[in-house]
Subunit: 197 residues, 2 copies
DNA sequence: CAATTGGCATACGGAACGTATGTAAATAGA
DNA sequence: TCTATTTACATACGTTCCGTATGCCAATTG
């Protein structure tokens, strides 16, 4: 057999990523002991250093995985919208909803930026931001959004507001009510981007 | 003399905070060795643990100091505006400009949230956010801002967008140009809050 | 002036990380 | 098929850093 070798390697990589993802998402990056979560995957730190170089390398791999999943989910939801503007708004609110999940919040919005720096400069630079930038550009072409704005910069601002909204909701005593307030405020801000007709 | 004692204590506290602030602001919280920066202040970790309990406690003290300074600066700038709306906008853009400074960005917007959690729940909960919340409420009373929004939630969203804008600018190759783009996009978003007259 | 409090240093133990080294299995070449 | 080499991963070690426990000296209190 020529395959088993490659498959075993892929499997250990996957096991390490899964174990790290769980540890990072629950207790946080800094508090996650490499000895502990590698052991929980039935491995040791030796495997980790071999495949990912160091703890940061593993975090990058985890982030890449999550980012990919988020991009898929955003596309699924947003593609159903009737108008392009609605498509855009849905994309943003979906983003907020995803950011509500503790694992995403912790890894993508807190530990990730703290350990690896500005997300906009990550290797796989946020597929979500790229998508939003793309839609903003089209909306400008359609004459829906004011033309003088830089799409990518605007997408980043919106992203910042989204993640803040998500944190606000997640830490709230009454997530349901807070969620409504945050999304309302968020949509109101987005209205500022539209051309007054 | 009754003073020298108290003065010495205040002085060591100040020295520790200053040394930590410098270390946190340059190399970052996680990479700052307590042995190193206490030594640079002519002290040891003993003093640190005595006054602040642990490393996090010192970070809190540093944050409280910076937060106070930021509040002062925001008030200085914004109080000169002719209208209340302009006052509010100035407040926001000043916030962005401050967030441009590497020390503020690193400590207040990256390491702070990562280590201490959601800034909105900090003990001295961001004087800046409190101020913005206050202004938004008044603007609603004046009929300038749409009335159905929750002021605090809105202030948090704006804060999130601001810090994102600041990071964007700071990491840009051409900060001047990026700054213009970001502030333009930001002002546009704020327009969404105004009532259509 | 004696007793006590409190500010700060020193000493110790433990945990975590990164590296260097070892080993067994799989692949490649003859 | 047999040997050589690569590769995946474990083990062992040294270093760094944090938190606690303890000790000392100066300042305050009576």
């Amino acid at each position: 057999m020529h395959r088993p070798r490659k498959e075993m390697i892929a499997e250990t990589r996957a096991k390490l990523i899964a174990a790290a993802r769980h540890a990072f998402g629950t207790v946080g990056y800094a508090e996650s002991s490499m000895d502990d979560f590698t052991a929980s995957a039935g491995l040791t730190r030796g495997a980790l250093y071999h495949h990912f170089g160091d703890k940061k390398g593993l975090l990058q791999a985890v982030i890449a995985e999550i980012d990919g999943e988020m991009a898929v989910r955003v596309n699924e939801v947003a593609s159903k919208a009737p108008t392009r503007w609605q498509h855009f708004v849905d994309e943003c609110t979906t983003y907020i909803e995803m950011a509500l999940e503790p694992e995403i919040q912790r890894i993508m919005f807190r530990d990730g930026p703290a350990v690896l720096g500005d997300p906009a400069q990550w290797p796989n630079a946020s597929a979500c931001i790229a998508s939003m930038t793309n839609h903003l550009t089209k909306l400008q072409d359609d004459g829906v959004v004011v033309p003088e704005l830089d799409p990518e910069t605007t997408a980043l601002l919106i992203n910042g507001a989204s993640s803040q909204a998500a944190q606000r909701i997640a830490n709230s005593g009454d997530p349901e009510a807070t969620s409504k307030k945050a999304i309302a405020a968020f949509k109101q801000l987005l209205e500022g981007l539209r051309r007054k007709t």
